[in-house]
């Protein structure tokens, strides 16, 4: 990771430790996304995964000394916001029509 360009020793260590912390955070969010009992749980976990990915793009821009990755970060943040609001809108509509029992029935039908 920090072998991409020549940094100071402090910065190289900080980049490695931050990358490890973000990896663990994404893994924990993924566990919640698999295990979450309802659909809004999974939407919240997916939103957090995308926000952490935006931060990781910034970390990668620092690690590789290429500032052009900022465009990727802004685009990914925009897509995450739109996806979250769309998920919430559809969940809201389905709640107004069917309620939580539809969600539970769908997941039992999947198994």
């Amino acid at each position: 990771m920090s072998g991409l360009s020549d940094h100071a020793a402090v910065l190289a260590w900080a980049i490695d430790i931050t990358a490890l912390l973000m990896l663990v955070a994404i893994a924990l969010s993924f566990i919640r996304m698999v295990r979450g009992p309802s659909l809004p749980d999974r939407v919240v976990a997916l939103d957090l995964i995308t926000i952490i990915t935006v931060g990781f793009v910034g970390l990668f821009a620092i690690a590789s000394d290429v500032s052009a990755f900022l465009d990727v970060a802004i685009g990914l943040a925009l897509v995450a916001f739109l996806a979250t609001v769309a998920f919430a809108w559809y969940a809201d509509r389905r709640a107004a029509q069917f309620g939580l029992e539809a969600d539970l029935r769908d997941r039992e039908g999947d198994r």
């Binding site: 900080a14 973000m22 957090l48 919430a88």
Partner: protein, 116 residues
């Protein structure tokens, strides 16, 4: 170099807050409580990393883009969290057992069984 020390400190604090957000979204008991960890700690961690990026590059373009990204995250995260929270409440996702105040009780049609 003082600049590298500032960047390293900002990066490590951002990574710590992102880790706290992941830990909270796994360990907290309820959707509405988990959104606290996700929205607040996750946005703060990503914002600290972009502050480190602005200090590291120190161009006009990089600083302005970093400020733009931080402002975008700060504006959109509460809107998305409010939308998901309202949808979760209206779907009737069960709240935690230790919930003491439910200000929307009786205002929306919840479809689960009422709490004892």
């Amino acid at each position: 170099m003082v600049n590298d020390w500032i960047v390293a400190l900002l990066l490590l604090s951002g990574g710590f807050f992102v880790f706290v957000a992941g830990l909270g979204i796994l360990r907290l008991p309820d959707v509405l409580i988990r959104m606290h960890a996700s929205t607040k700690a996750g946005t703060l961690g990503a914002g600290l990393i972009f502050a480190a990026l602005a200090v590291h590059f120190a161009d006009t373009v990089s600083i302005s883009f970093s400020i733009l990204t931080i402002l975008f995250l700060l504006i959109t995260a509460p809107v998305a969290a409010h939308a998901i929270g309202r949808a979760a409440y209206r779907m009737g996702v069960p709240l935690s057992d230790r919930t003491q105040i439910d200000e929307w009780e009786g205002r929306y049609r919840r479809t689960d069984k009422p709490k004892k």
